[in-house]
Amino acid sequence: MSVEQNTGGGLYAPQEPIFPRRVKGTFRNLKWWIMGVTLMIYYLAPWIRWDRGAHMPDQAILIDLAHRRFFFFMIEIWPHEFYFIAGLLIMAGIGLFLFTSALGRVWCGYTCPQTVWTDLFVLVERWIEGDRNARVRLWRAKWDARKWRLRLTKWLVWLLIAVATGGAWVFYFADAPTLFHDLFTGQAAFVAYGAIAVLTGTTFVFGGFMREQVCIYMCPWPRIQAAMMDEETLTVTYRDHRGEPRGKKHENTTGDCIDCMACVNVCPMGIDIRDGQQLECITCALCIDACDDVMTRIGKPRGLIDYCTLSDQERERQGGAPRPAWRHIFRVRTMIYTAIWGGIGVFLIAALFLRPEIDISVAPVRSPLYVTMSDGSIRNAYEVRLRNKRNEPRVFHLSITAADPLRISLEGTAQLHVTVPPDQTFEQRVYVTARPGSPATEKAQTDVRFWVEDLTSRDRAYTDSVFHGRAR
């Protein structure tokens, strides 16, 4: 078998240029709003201030990698509380399942950054180069002064948006006003400039040139869709039983579709929705707006292209009426997703309010397990970590409870309390000693409970560990 027998026209396909036409309508308006809100959140969120007192940053949303803290308004997440982040990611995943099974690829069509930024870039393109027809003409035109001027202007504006996008990203990781100043005076860390450069590049290329290629060839999500969607999923559909056979109005065909190509011309993915559900469709619903506009003008009912389910499609073909939308959305599958999603959410919120402001963890020193002292007593050492989650220094008192008499002492101090700085983890080596001849010296293990207590607030916590004696 050789490649010469290839009948499919080449192993590689060039990217076909797409010139989405301007469209007006319900879904376009919704998309404008979502674009405005999501972009505003992205660009402005790091600049929101939130006063946490003297020892902590005053940025509302901050991922402080250097100090290993994540701040979100009144919430502070420590590294050991990473399960909050994991929980949020799981919720995001299940939420995506929920929305996809109920409404198809709404994430792709409305809120995915790739869609939002591409939409923004196309808007810029239209402002500078004109609508679809003008853009097609410009694309075909020779590279004369006008084409260069328009192209360079467009690329420059894209680049500015890309720099702003990359620039906004780094503000989530450092104090925004300080970093802003440092960025312009050349004092910011190399990683900040590097991150901006990389994100500027990806925004510029993905939003300006790759566009639908990212969705079709790079993103794994379209491939997962199939498992999430079923015949009850509301998705952008062409009512072929109503539209076909299609034809121009004067051609006297019976179908409602007049083959005006409005739906194809507005499509940012360059597909024809009338071919049925396809991998490339991000369900942005712009074809619905375009088609509704045409149907209104020719005096036919709207909804030739519409949010519809496969099951309703079948019902309509048989002459039945579609079921109401809520019956598609509220069904067992989406209920289960909602229950899991809500369950994790409730758990996280409960955990957030129940988490203590004092914490202790104990790691027994295992090299060696015990030390014999000169008076014959047996001593174990423990590396104790104390966490003070309040924004003020606190005095923590350490004690132990055990069945056998054991004595606790701290390294470097004769006292049993330590001052833990605000919002920090404090490490302290603790010794537990069994007197010569006491039972714990001969037993292999004796259970010990370590207590830490804030003597002023009576806040306390404990953790269990063991004391090792001579026996094996």
């Binding site: 290839n6 396909a13 990217q15 030390v371 001593r379 470097g412």
Partner: protein, 286 residues
């Protein structure tokens, strides 16, 4: 624009057919191909600029002269430069005063811990629990003293380290040539009695006399030892070589001669201080 002739679900075939199974032709995007070529060019460029191709000894060095060892060396130099100020502060503070400065104490402990793992752990163990013949540094029993100054001196000058004139030095005679066998048995029983171990009281009584004549000069009348001579305390349950009869007999007959290097020739004074502070805070410091 006319409607596409092909449906998206019918991409055509490549013409390959095996047993009636045909291969659909879903062409790759062209940019993907270019990306692939770009990675090849990148790869070639990389192997020219960076160490890459294996040769008989080593590898091609690359035009940029990069080496990860050099990078580590530069990083270590950077860290040392960054530590210069606190190092100077450590040397300017007297040893006992370091504990009052939490930042300094933390620096010395962390630095000493790393040095300990590099230079000391081979004999004293990674947890500093020692081994037979190598003292446990965690307990409160010290041969040459457990204060910060004592530990610092021991680390700097070593023990029985001939090249260092200030080294800790003492030598127990091999009593195998001096005492008779029965006398050695008696003194061993007495030493066991001193440390509260099971012993033959009659022999120990006689051993007390032998001890007084031969051992008390260094180990003290009551066997409590003498840190200025490095003479171990014989009354506690901590033994460097062992407290059983066989080991004690061997120790008395042949004596012991443990050696520790003087680290002042290999480490700088700040590093020795860090080590002393680290060892002191392990739990036995006095």
């Amino acid at each position: 624009m006319s409607r596409k002739e092909k449906k998206p679900t019918d991409p055509g075939t490549t013409g390959h057919s095996w047993d009636g199974i045909e291969e659909l032709n879903n062409p790759l995007p062209r940019w993907w191909l270019w990306t692939f070529y770009a990675t090849i060019i990148w790869g070639i460029g990389y192997t020219i600029l960076y160490p890459a191709w294996p040769l008989i000894t080593g590898a091609t060095p690359g035009l940029l002269g990069y080496s990860s060892r050099q990078e580590v060396r530069a990083e270590i130099a950077d860290v040392s430069a960054a530590n210069a100020a606190i190092d100077a502060r450590l040397m300017a503070t007297d040893l006992a005063g370091v504990a009052k400065d939490p930042a300094l104490q933390r620096y010395a402990t962390a630095g000493g811990g790393a040095l300990f793992k590099t230079y000391c752990a081979q004999c004293h163990g990674s947890g500093a629990a020692g081994n037979v013949g190598y003292p446990n540094l965690l307990d409160d029993d010290w041969l040459w003293g457990g204060t910060l100054a004592d530990i610092n001196t021991t680390i700097a000058h070593g023990v029985r380290w001939d090249q260092d004139p200030d080294t800790r030095y003492s030598q127990m005679p091999a009593f195998g040539d001096i005492l008779t066998k029965p006398e050695i048995t008696q003194v061993v029983e007495y030493v066991r009695a001193l440390s509260g171990q099971e012993n033959d009281a009659a022999l120990a009584d006689k051993g007390k006399v032998v001890f007084g004549d031969n051992c008390a000069a260094c180990h003290g009348e009551k066997g409590k030892g003498n840190q200025s001579l490095g003479a171990p305390n014989l009354t506690d349950p901590i033994w460097l070589y062992g407290g059983d009869r066989k080991t004690l007999t061997a120790t008395v007959e042949k004596a012991r001669y443990g050696i520790m290097p003087a680290w002042s020739s290999r480490l700088d004074p700040s590093q020795i201080r860090q080590l002393a502070i680290y060892v002191h805070q392990l739990g036995g410091g006095q």
